[in-house]
Structure formats: structure tokens, C-alpha cells
């Protein structure tokens, strides 16, 4: 084997700085947490089945050069509204999950189309626009769920409605669909439960993404992701394609949210979707993705590393400094931190690449 030269090693470290940093933190934290290997493996599997779908939904807009889609929160809202109806109607089991997904589709398409339109007006600033848009839509969501449901939209199930007669309660118990998909095909290896059916659905999305990249539409998105103007002058309808990318992402995020909540089993009506956007984006970045590059492997690696850190940090924190709250603190701090770091690194890397090109130029001079 050829000995890698120093420069390429540094380049590798630089371009994978975030995953490596997490790997180091985790490898220090695991022994301190005192968890058994079985427990950790089980946790990773649960988290993978719970979060992967959501994280994967982010990949399509990255391909189209629209950065990390903070607008996925909108899809999550659509998924939640689907679940609220399904719970209200008392639809049980897989049928409940299926129906919630079908219900979320038109909502997701509508929200995705809307945010796609808005993002087209803010080209180059998609991420911050998406972020603020999510805040705004959160207000609309609250209006509908807190005031519209039970008054305009009939909600027959009294256990879901606030005691004042309208508005959905803070938490909705999803007992009807709780883990029905996870336990559809039970498999136990040693002490570890594997939710085979959920992973099959996730595999399906991966296959979709792989296939999608090979379609004309996927190719167009890649072209737009590299240079909108060149794509436009080749006759690709840039705006429409970008809207489609966001719609696909939003619909997938809606599905992902439903899978996520069927695993958790309770819906925090006014919080679940907010957290999901932030954590999914952070997880993808931890996996080594960046604003303009995202692979399926980044999603899985990211979910593993990011959530493993959350699993171990409370115990590690307690054992190290006697503070269990450290975990929750880390959760928020780290996810915002990771997003900031990733964005800074992205800008830094762009600069570095320019510099590298310049240095190469200078070196070429010296050789002459």
C-alpha cells in the first residue's frame, strides 16, 4: 500500500472534522457512562429506526443546491395533523399509520409548494429563509390545532381536546398505533430487538433516493445544484424543479415524522415538530454531510453518532461531574453548535479550496 502523504491526511481530517470530533467525544464518553454493549447497540438500533427516515428526507434538496431544508418542519406538521385525525377517528394499527401517511400527503404537497415558491424568491439564502418560514408556519399550525380543532374541525374524542372544549391537548397518546410497525416483524438477536419492518421501509426510501438520482429529474436537480444559470440556459426549468425538490422533501418528512412518532408513542402536539427539524439537520451534519453534499451514508452515520452521544451523555455527565442534566443541555447546545460549526466549516472550506488552487498554481511556478 502506498503511504499516504501528509497533505492528503490533513485534507481527509479537514473534510471529516465533525464526524471525527464526535467519534472522539463518544469514545471518551462510553467507558464513563458505564452502559453495557448490549444496551448501547439496542439504543442505536432504536434511534436508527426512529430517525433515519427523517434525516433521509433532507437529501433531495441538498442535491438541488438548496442547502439543508429547515422547511422539513412543515412536513413534520403535516404528519402530525395526519396522526391527530387518525387518533381522533380511532384508527388502529398499521391502517392508522397508512391512513395518517395518506392524509399527510396533500398537506405536505401544499406546504412544500408554498415554501418552494418562497425559497425561489430567496435564492442563495434558502436555509435562513426556511428556518424563519418554519417559525411562521408554526404559528399557523398552532392557530389550527389550538383554536381550529374542536371548534371548526370536529374532534369527537374528548380525551384529545382541552377541557375548555376546543384545541388539542399538549400531549396526544398514540396508543393505537404505538410501535405497530416496529413490532410487525419481530426479530430478536441475543438480547437485541430489531424492528425489521421499519428498517424495510427505510430501505425503501434509500432505494427511492438511489433510483431518483438516476432519473432525468434527479439529473436536473444535480445540474441546478451546481449552477443555476447554466442549468437555466440549457433549458431546465429551474424554479419548478426546485419546488419539486422541496415538495419531495416535505412529503418524505411527513412520512418520517409519522414513523418517528409511532416509535415514541406520544405526540407532543406543540413541540415534536420543532425539535425534529433541528435534530435531523444536526444529525446529518454530524454524519459528515455539508450544505452542498449529502449522501445516504452520512444520514446513517450521523444518526448513530449524534444519538449515541445523547444516550451516553447523561450517565457520563453524572459519573464525571455528578450532573445528569448535562444530557439535555448537551442535546440542545450540541445540535445548535454542530449546525453553526458545519456552516462555518462550509464557508471556511470554500475559502480553503480557493487557496489550495492558488497554492497549486504557485507550486507549479516553482517547478518550472
Amino acid at each position: 500500500m502506498k503511504k499516504p502523504d501528509r497533505k492528503s491526511v490533513i485534507f481527509f481530517l479537514e473534510s471529516n472534522a465533525v464526524p471525527i470530533l464526535f467519534l472522539i467525544i463518544i469514545s471518551i464518553g462510553v467507558p464513563y457512562s458505564g452502559f453495557s454493549v448490549d444496551y448501547l447497540v439496542q439504543e442505536i438500533i432504536i434511534r436508527l429506526s426512529r430517525n433515519s427516515f427523517l434525516v433521509l428526507s433532507l437529501l433531495v434538496p441538498i442535491m438541488a443546491g438548496m442547502g439543508l431544508n429547515f422547511g422539513m418542519v412543515l412536513g413534520a406538521m403535516a404528519g402530525q395533523i395526519g396522526l391527530i385525525f387518525v387518533t381522533n377517528w380511532n384508527i388502529v394499527g398499521l391502517q392508522g399509520i397508512g391512513l395518517a401517511m395518506i392524509l399527510s400527503i396533500p398537506l405536505s404537497i401544499l406546504l412544500g409548494w408554498m415554501s418552494g415558491k418562497i425559497l425561489n424568491m430567496a435564492k442563495g439564502r434558502e436555509m435562513v429563509t426556511g428556518f424563519i418560514l418554519a417559525f411562521f408556519m408554526n404559528g399557523v399550525y398552532q392557530l389550527v390545532v389550538l383554536y381550529g380543532m374542536g371548534s371548526i374541525i370536529p374532534i369527537g374524542n374528548p380525551s384529545m381536546v382541552l377541557s375548555r372544549g376546543y384545541g388539542i391537548r399538549n400531549t396526544v397518546n398514540l396508543i393505537n398505533i404505538r410501535q405497530t410497525l416496529d413490532s410487525l416483524i419481530p426479530l430478536k438477536i441475543g438480547n437485541i430487538q430489531i424492528p425489521v419492518a421499519t428498517f424495510m421501509v427505510i430501505a425503501l426510501v434509500c432505494l427511492f433516493i438511489v433510483w431518483f438520482r438516476k432519473t432525468k429529474l434527479g439529473q436536473d436537480m444535480r445540474a441546478i445544484g451546481q449552477d443555476m444559470h447554466v442549468a437555466e440556459s440549457a433549458g431546465i426549468n429551474v424554479e419548478r424543479t426546485r419546488i419539486i425538490a422541496i415538495i419531495i422533501s416535505t412529503v418524505l418528512a411527513g412520512f418520517g415524522m409519522i414513523l418517528y412518532l409511532q416509535n415514541i408513542g406520544t405526540l407532543n402536539t406543540y413541540n415534536s415538530h420543532e425539535q425534529v427539524g433541528m435534530f435531523s439537520i444536526a444529525a446529518l451534519l454530524v454524519g459528515g454531510a455539508s450544505v452542498n453534499k449529502g449522501k445516504i451514508s452520512h444520514a446513517f452515520l450521523g444518526v448513530t453518532l449524534f444519538h449515541l452521544m445523547f444516550v451516553i451523555s447523561p450517565m457520563a455527565g453524572k459519573n464525571l461531574i455528578g450532573q445528569a442534566q448535562l444530557g439535555e443541555y448537551f442535546r440542545v447546545f450540541v445540535s445548535y453548535g454542530v449546525i453553526s460549526i458545519a456552516l462555518v466549516l462550509y464557508a471556511y472550506r470554500k475559502l480553503k479550496e480557493k487557496e489550495r488552487a492558488g497554492t497549486a498554481l504557485a507550486e507549479a511556478q516553482e517547478e518550472k
Binding site: 438516476k214 432525468k216 445540474a223 447554466v230 480557493k354 492558488g358
Partner: protein, 533 residues
């Protein structure tokens, strides 16, 4: 459709940008398989002519054009380049329009990919068809073969040498099935000699196949070598239209520059300098399309120093690099003091100023009025036009002083405007350029870089701009470095002129040398390496 009608005919095409006439009564025709050489100085109207042909939106946005265009005898008027492409007119741009992360194949077949049917198309439309990579490869190979070059169709464009990028672009145009007319805008400017040779060969082959070519080039040798007909544009008019075999380089060159004869009259007087002011050693600048590889210069105090050369050779990279706008390396010294690179603030603090070639994006605040534009840098950098308030606790804008200075320069530079409060974007190109100059003059720099000061402005305005620069140099003793593609312009005001070729100085000559000497340097024919004096 009549077979006798020429493939493309333009009749009395006229175009002005807000009263600034750039094309007047341009008429010509081109037959199938003919190669037409279109030459003219920068700003002669070649690019505008092609923009009209392709129906670029900028033409409609600025009031359309006059005259008629006929394709195979039928009048056409394209609303967008895509319509022109549908009619078999292809364009290879001066700037590459390739996607760096895509392979040659993907670029050649961009938006015309071969695809396979699958059931999803019935549900979600044709864009769900999957790409047929094998078929795409064959098509790309065929197109590359048509160009007549060896090119690995799987290489991403970002890893290609410039020449291969150019060939990829050409292959993309040729891949279109019905291509009848190909416009090549300076295709050889970025090619090495052997690559250019291959390109010319493939052009000949294409013309034999019946494809007409409009070939825009500054390299007159190539024009003579390959074209059937030569068309010379100057100041928006056709000066000469002759079969190429009845003309020669000198005649074309003469027709191109035309006004050289009387420009000779007001050649700058010969001055001598002996105090080195700005010294540049081994400068490299990574400016896309204008890469500077290795440049050393010594410029004297009070001198007007011209930098010329063909587009894309790196002359624009020099001021942009020294002023810290693009990544650069090497050494820059002013009066013996080293100026750090890659830091615009340091460059400005060293009393250098820069009038950018990119006045719309870098030079001007388009939505702000003239007086603000003029005073802005002075205010930011030198805390001028500010008056102390409350015993110096705050400083507020001194609107009176700003207005005074604006009025002064409006008068001095003959800026045509309604008032100093008029917005910069409402001015014509020439007047915008004058505002840029005024802005630089206000800071009273020791060294002033002026990049392409006359690009895109009309003849009258050119003269005022150049005269202003000259006057300013004489009055204040400012060292001026002027970068321009127009040699005659450089010769009329500079003391010495350096010619840049492939990112290096190919020679420095006094402005009094004949044009031919500079022309040879531009074409890299002389081996004298750039040491000043």
C-alpha cells in the same frame, strides 16, 4: 422555404442602449457551410450582435432592436436563446457554461439526456424517466469525435484543462441534431497553439458537412487561415466585408482600429521617471478566467503604466490581486514597504485605489444617488464628509460637503445627470464609469488602478474618461496603472505598456513603439521575458 435564400441574413440591424448607439445598419448574410470571420475591437458591437441573434433577454429589456433577421428566408425573432437553439443555431460562449461537477458526457448532453421508460412516468411525468448511461456515452463519444479531439468522456469538467473544456462546449453544440449554424465566440483565446490547430481543423470539417460558422476571434492569423468571408465591425458599423482570400492581416487590422491614424497625433509626450514607486515581485493571482501566474513589475512614481493583453490572459487579475479581491501570493512593495496581500483594507490604507472593471457589481452602489457613490469610500476609509456633533461625541454625515464635492466632479467629468441625487443605476455606462473615477479621485490615492475604464461606453465618453485620467495624473502626480484590452487607448495615455500573455509579462515597451510590436507580444511571438527596462 427557398433553397436560394442564404442560411442567415441580417438586414439593417440597429441597436442602442438608452440612446447610446452600439449597432447601426448592420447587414450581412451567411450561406450553408460558410465560415464567417467576425472581427472588431472590444466594444465594436460583436457581442451585442450575437445577443440579438440569440434573443437574449437583455436585448428585450433594453428596448429591442431595429432591422430584420431572416433564417432560410423566413423572418425570425427569438424571445430566448432556447428558441434559437430549437432552430439549429448554437453558441459557444467565451465564458464556459459547463457544470464543474458533471462529466464531459453529462455536460454535452445536459438537458438532452437519453432516457429509458419506466412506469413512474405515467404517474409523475416524463422527468421520471431514468438516464440511459450507455446510450449517453455513445452519443457523447460521437459528438467528441465530430469535434475531432481525444477527450475522456468520464472526466469531470473541474479536472479538465481549459482546452478540453472548450472542446466539451463545442461538442455540446454539435450534439444537437439539427445544428445548422454555430457561433464560436473567441474559442481559441484559451487554447494552446496545438489545441487551436485541432479546433480549426474540426471547424473546417464541420463546414464541409454543411454547418455554417460565425467565428469571432482576435487572432487575425486564424481568421485568414480558416474563414471564407471576413466582416469587420467598428463602433457598431460594418467597415469591411470581403472574401477572405482578397484581404490580408494588415488590411483587416487597419479596418479594425481605424481611428489609430489620428490617435497617433495625441500620443503622450515622452517623459522619464527614475523613482520606483510600486514594485511587484512574483505575483500570482487566482482569479477565475484571469489567472496571473508569475508577474514582476517596477512602476515609477507619477507614471501612467498601461497593462494590455488579450482577454483571459490575466491582465485583469493583476489589480484585483494587488487590491486583495482575489487570492494572491508574491510580494508587493510601495516605496520599499511591503503591502500584505489578500486584505483589501491594507491595500486601501496604503493609499491605493481601484476602479474595477466590474462597475455594476463592485464599483457602484446602484441604488444610491451619485453624491453618495462619490463620497462613500472617502467617508468609510478616511472619515471625511463627517462633521463632529456634541463636541465630537458623534460624527454625522456632512451633506453639504458631499453635495459640494459631487457637484465639483459632475462638472469636471461632465457627468450627464439631472441632479447629484440621481440614482447611479439610472445613468448610462459612460457616466457610471465617470462616477467610479470620481469616487477614486476623492480619496486622493497615491496609486490608482483603473481597470477597463472604457469598456462598454461610447466614443465621446471614452475620450473624456481618458483625458480626465491624464489630467489627474499631470495635476496630482498620481501613479496610474491602467488595464485595458484596447491597445490604442493604452498607447494614447500611457508612458509604458506591459503586455500580459498566459499570466506572464511577455514584454514591456514604451508607448511610442508601433502597434505591431505590441500585437506580436500579445500573440506571444516574442520571447523577451518580462523584466522592466
Amino acid at each position: 422555404m427557398s433553397q436560394n435564400a442564404p442560411l442567415l441574413e441580417m438586414r439593417n440591424v440597429t441597436k442602442d442602449f438608452f440612446g447610446n448607439v452600439v449597432l447601426k445598419d448592420v447587414s450581412f448574410s451567411i450561406e450553408r457551410g460558410e465560415i464567417l470571420g467576425l472581427v472588431g475591437e472590444n466594444g465594436a458591437g460583436k457581442t451585442t450582435l450575437m445577443k440579438i441573434l440569440f434573443g437574449m433577454t437583455v436585448i428585450q429589456d433594453t428596448g429591442g432592436y431595429g432591422g430584420e433577421i431572416l433564417l432560410e428566408g423566413k423572418p425570425v425573432s427569438y424571445k430566448s436563446p432556447l428558441e434559437a437553439l430549437d432552430d439549429g443555431i448554437g453558441m459557444v460562449h467565451q465564458e464556459f457554461s459547463l457544470l464543474p461537477g458533471f462529466t464531459a458526457t453529462e455536460n454535452i448532453l445536459l438537458n438532452r439526456e437519453s432516457t429509458n421508460y419506466n412506469f413512474m412516468t405515467e404517474l409523475f411525468g416524463d422527468r421520471m424517466r431514468t438516464l440511459d448511461r450507455a446510450e449517453m456515452k455513445t452519443r457523447a463519444e460521437k459528438a467528441i469525435e465530430k469535434v475531432g479531439v481525444k477527450l475522456d468522456e468520464n472526466t469531470p469538467v473541474s479536472e479538465m484543462p481549459v482546452g478540453h473544456k472548450q472542446f466539451t462546449e463545442i461538442a455540446r453544440e454539435l450534439e444537437k441534431e439539427n445544428v445548422k449554424l454555430l457561433v464560436l465566440d473567441e474559442p481559441t483565446a484559451v487554447l494552446t497553439e496545438s489545441e487551436a490547430e485541432i479546433l480549426l481543423k474540426s471547424m473546417r470539417k464541420l463546414s464541409e458537412e454543411g454547418i455554417a460558422i460565425i467565428f469571432i476571434s482576435h487572432r487575425l492569423q486564424e481568421i485568414i487561415e480558416i474563414t471564407d468571408k471576413t466582416l469587420v465591425l467598428r463602433d457598431g458599423r460594418i467597415i469591411q466585408e470581403t472574401p477572405t482570400d482578397q484581404t490580408d492581416i494588415e488590411e483587416i487590422a487597419q479596418a479594425m482600429v481605424g481611428r489609430e491614424i489620428h490617435a497617433e497625433g495625441d500620443r503622450a509626450e515622452v517623459r522619464t521617471f527614475n523613482a520606483p514607486h510600486l514594485i511587484v515581485n512574483n505575483l500570482w493571482v487566482d482569479m477565475p478566467g484571469e489567472t496571473v501566474r508569475n508577474i514582476s513589475l517596477e512602476i515609477n512614481k507619477g507614471e501612467i503604466f498601461g497593462i494590455g493583453g488579450l482577454a483571459g490572459q490575466g491582465k485583469l487579475g493583476i489589480p484585483n490581486g494587488i487590491m486583495g479581491l482575489y487570492p494572491a501570493g508574491g510580494e508587493v512593495r510601495i516605496d520599499g514597504k511591503t503591502i500584505p496581500l489578500n486584505n483589501p483594507r491594507e491595500a486601501l490604507d496604503a493609499s491605493m485605489a481601484f476602479v474595477s472593471e466590474d462597475r455594476r457589481d463592485v464599483g457602484l452602489l446602484l441604488d444610491e444617488p451619485i453624491d453618495w457613490n462619490i463620497s462613500f469610500t472617502g467617508m468609510q476609509m478616511q472619515k471625511r464628509f463627517l462633521k463632529p456633533v456634541l463636541g465630537g461625541l458623534f460624527r454625522l454625515r456632512d451633506d453639504k460637503a458631499i453635495e459640494d464635492i459631487a457637484n465639483h466632479y459632475i462638472e469636471a467629468l461632465e457627468i450627464k445627470c439631472m441632479s447629484p441625487r440621481q440614482k447611479a443605476k439610472e445613468l448610462s455606462g459612460g457616466n457610471q464609469q465617470k462616477v467610479c473615477l470620481a469616487k477614486a479621485f476623492v480619496v486622493e490615492p497615491d496609486i490608482l488602478f483603473v481597470s477597463e475604464p472604457t469598456r462598454g461606453i461610447d466614443v465621446g465618453a471614452k475620450k473624456i474618461v481618458l483625458d480626465t485620467l491624464k489630467e489627474y495624473n499631470r495635476e496630482k502626480g498620481t501613479t496610474i496603472i491602467i488595464i485595458s484590452s484596447e491597445l490604442e487607448e493604452l498607447r494614447s495615455i500611457s508612458d509604458r505598456i506591459a503586455i500580459v500573455d498566459e499570466g506572464r509579462i511577455s514584454g514591456i515597451l514604451p508607448a511610442s513603439e508601433p502597434s505591431k510590436a505590441f500585437g506580436l507580444l500579445m500573440l506571444g511571438k516574442v520571447d523577451s521575458k518580462g523584466d522592466s527596462k
